[in-house]
Symmetry: C2
Subunit: 201 residues, 2 copies
């Protein structure tokens, strides 16, 4: 608040004339972050490709505004116009994959949580002004110093951590999830699913 006031060159209390709370301010920031996400046009490829593009942009938008990602992850009940437009578009694309209303809703929540969760993790890794390279180096050193006799898996991982990158890691998981959604959508296109009641042990 004080920092924001100084940055704007105004009295810190002037902020309270526009926002009731710090909470209200951050809710508005969510809208600002989502505003930059470009919704895909109908001719941007298959539904899966359009969904992928949307989520890649969502991650970039969230990363640009620290603190916003965790709010989006919990699907806060503050539905500004951009939130509504993005959520609707995302749901529509998942429906296009062939999932019914019920599963598409669950899939949407999952996908948003994954994207936002990754951004939260990336932000935490860079806490205190550390760069992505700093974080990876620290992690690699820590893994390399674990006893390879006691924990051979850790030693193996230490040799592989160099390949990690925020971008590649995110896209690996994103593609895994999208493949799963596509596969689930295929069999069930306009077919009413009988509720399979599996006995829980």
């Amino acid at each position: 608040m004080r920092a924001l006031g100084q940055k704007l060159g105004v009295d810190p209390m002037a902020v309270y004339r526009h926002f009731r709370d710090k909470e209200a301010l951050l809710e508005a920031l969510v809208e600002a972050a989502l505003a930059v996400v470009r919704l895909p046009a109908a001719d941007d490829g298959s539904a899966a490709e359009r969904l992928r593009g949307l989520l890649v942009e969502l991650r970039a938008g969230l990363a640009a505004h620290p603190g916003v990602a965790s709010r989006v992850a919990s699907t806060q009940p503050n539905l500004g116009p951009h939130t509504v437009a993005l959520t609707g578009a995302c749901f529509g694309l998942i429906r296009e994959l062939g999932l019914d209303d019920s599963e598409a809703t669950r899939a949407l929540v999952m996908v948003i949580r994954y994207v936002a969760g990754v951004v939260v993790a990336e932000e935490r890794a860079q806490a205190g002004g550390a760069s992505e390279a700093d974080w990876r180096e620290q992690l690699q050193d820590a893994y390399a110093s674990v006893s390879p006799i006691e924990f051979p898996q850790i030693a193996t991982m230490a040799t592989q951590l160099g390949q990690l990158s925020f971008d590649a890691d995110f896209e690996y998981g994103l593609d895994l999830i999208l493949e799963g959604l596509v596969r689930r959508g295929r069999g069930t296109t306009d077919t009413a699913q009988a509720p399979s009641r599996t006995a829980s042990t």
Copy 2:
């Protein structure tokens, strides 16, 4: 700190005799959270089943200690014994699915981020002492009040939000991811993959 001191009935500053920082204290809390996660025995079913059980327990452990999840999500370079044991076991199980060292490392990061990210989202949804039911009700009201003519997808979702639950949502995503990992593991068992160099547009 002050609250912790009062809870323990000691001077708040006494904490600094055991931990250098609040940061150091929370790092120790990570270990405490992971300590309760039971590592699966070899006869607990298939590798996929054991991995699933481990991750279900991981979520429960993280949820029991608010604030710990985001640290685990970013795979902090503070490798206490429980962190090492759990990471090693998890990596071993993913390797058992048939993924090579390189992909298993990426898959491990992804899976941890998903589980921890979900917990972060759940914590945020319950911010300010709200229950899961409170959060869902708020969300449902917000969705139901959006114009169904302008945004039909939102209206459809509003009718489906009642089925959401932290547990079911988590397990839906978890199973989707595990299925993807199993499928990727099958084809590549002890087969060296040629690096497919796809031209980026």
